[in-house]
Amino acid sequence: MMKNCEYQQIDPRALSVSPSSAQNHTEKKVQRSRRKWEVFPGKNRFFCDGRIILARQSGVLPLTLGLIVVTCGLFFAFDCPFLVEHLTVFIPVIGGVLCVFVLISLLRTSFTDPGILPRATPDEAADIEKQIDTSGSSTYRPPPRTKEILINQQVVKLKYCFTCKMFRPPRTSHCSLCDNCVERFDHHCPWVGNCVGKRNYRFFYSFIISLSFLTSFIFGCVITHITLRSQEGKNLVQAIQESPASVVELVICFFSIWSIMGLSGFHTYLVASNLTTNEDIKGSWSSKRCAEDSGNPYSYNSIITNCCATLCGPMPPSLIDRRGFLSFDEAIPAASEMELPRFAAKNDAHMCTQSTKDVLERVVHSFDFHGLCPPGTPKTTPLGLEVSSMAAPSTEHSPSAGCSGQHALQPVAAPCPPFSRSSKRRDSLHSINPAFRLASPSPPLSRTTWILDDATNMGFISLP
């Protein structure tokens, strides 16, 4: 009977290690395996099950898209026929290629993760806090927290990010609009509706360069069109009356050219000197020694190398793993929330946990770590469940602590979360978690109670 109990005890726990492969149908009823994007703490929006990422406020991205599409549409509809007739068929071809390139670059810039840094795990944050307290460097001035490091023989200050709970790597900045730390943060562009950072800077640059070419091309073609028309024995006004769309295009292109070309020139300068807009605006390196580029510790001191490194360098991976499944420790709140009313069977569960402890102690003798990290689970952190089931003897005291912990977690673990939940609540979840995990073993307890309840027909309840 006891043996039966032990086996039943182990079974659900082993199952719950990998929630994505939850074979237990009752578990499925309670919580489907969720992807990480659904609980992402930043202010981002996700589409296509996490494949596409956008800032919360898409800004004027629809306007940008609209302007480009409308201008190109008018160009192909009204100017191209005339120009094909009078000049060459390559005009719409070139226009088409440029237009497609611009749109793809724009969409890539908008929908790509700019280099968001995932927030520090609670353990990491605790470790950093410990280091800050013990180092004594900030005792005379508690906030703000900074750390000085040497990069290429130059002193650089790293700032502590209070939202993400870590020291920001160099060139990383926290975007308040997206509420994320972004690596090599350039700026938050409302026109593309996303931050521009390490991973999408090359897309952004190719977008503005190709857009400059496109606007100049359209501008030139429209001028040519109107000129040719007025040369055919008509005056300018008549020519314009015949093709009013051209005027619209002229106006749009005229204003765009100034701004886009200016922006392209500025970013070309930034690329050549391996700077970000953020650094340029803040003047991070300009006040240093006056020799060119020696102030910037990231520059390769060669324009070509700088350009190649920024634009043609290796494409870094996305660090936030949007489509990965939630590991067990993150999924705990959702599960435990369901188990609160079932604490009645707590006593029986306590007995079973006791026997579980015996089982574990036996395991110690055959201490064997093979299969510790089963292959194919890179996305799960099985160690996340740091609940020491060895704390079973203290179960009498802890449930209440665990219970209150769980109560606090309830508002956060809504089963159908809008993924744009506020970072504050997420932070509270993170800060509660360590206490929740360490203070009580009630997760295993409550899991077993849950299984107990649902398993009435398994002949399990007949325990002493």
Partner: protein, 143 residues
């Protein structure tokens, strides 16, 4: 057999004594490198040289991933010409090296760290910020 496997899972969840975080080393810039300084908490568990060798190998692998060489330039130019749509179908050099790194870490865990009651977590799971080393309680001592 299923029972044994489950017990082992339990074992791995059972007793985490501490976690050590190996931070990034930024002296060479923003390239991904980790500090090779040997943390004092691991002194009783593993050989200093062994550990430093692991971290150094990881550093070398990351350096290979981020290397600015002809391969990365070709990849970059090709991507630019295809309006970056090529990234949708092709695995980048960086991703290939990341797979190598994951395999290496698993190997190291199986052969060297797990028998000593330690576990390395792949830095990519921590946003390439830290190498997390989990130290398990030495159950044989407590018994």
């Amino acid at each position: 057999m299923a029972e044994t496997h489950s017990l082992q899972d339990m074992r791995q969840q059972a007793a985490v004594a501490a976690k050590v975080f190996i931070q990034r080393d930024y002296t060479k810039g923003t390239v991904c490198q980790f500090q090779t300084k040997f943390p004092s908490e691991l002194e009783t568990r593993i050989d200093k040289q062994q550990f430093e060798e692991t971290v150094q190998t990881l550093n070398n692998l990351y350096a290979e991933a981020e290397k600015l060489g002809s391969q990365s330039y070709v990849e970059g130019c090709l991507a630019c010409l295809t309006a970056y749509t090529i990234f949708l179908c092709m695995e980048t050099h960086y991703e290939k090296v990341l797979k190598k790194i994951a395999k290496y870490i698993q190997e190291q865990n199986d052969k060297i760290y797990a028998p000593r009651g330690l576990l390395l977590t792949d830095p990519i799971e921590r946003g390439l910020r830290v190498i997390e080393v989990t130290i398990f309680e030495d159950r044989s001592l407590t018994r």
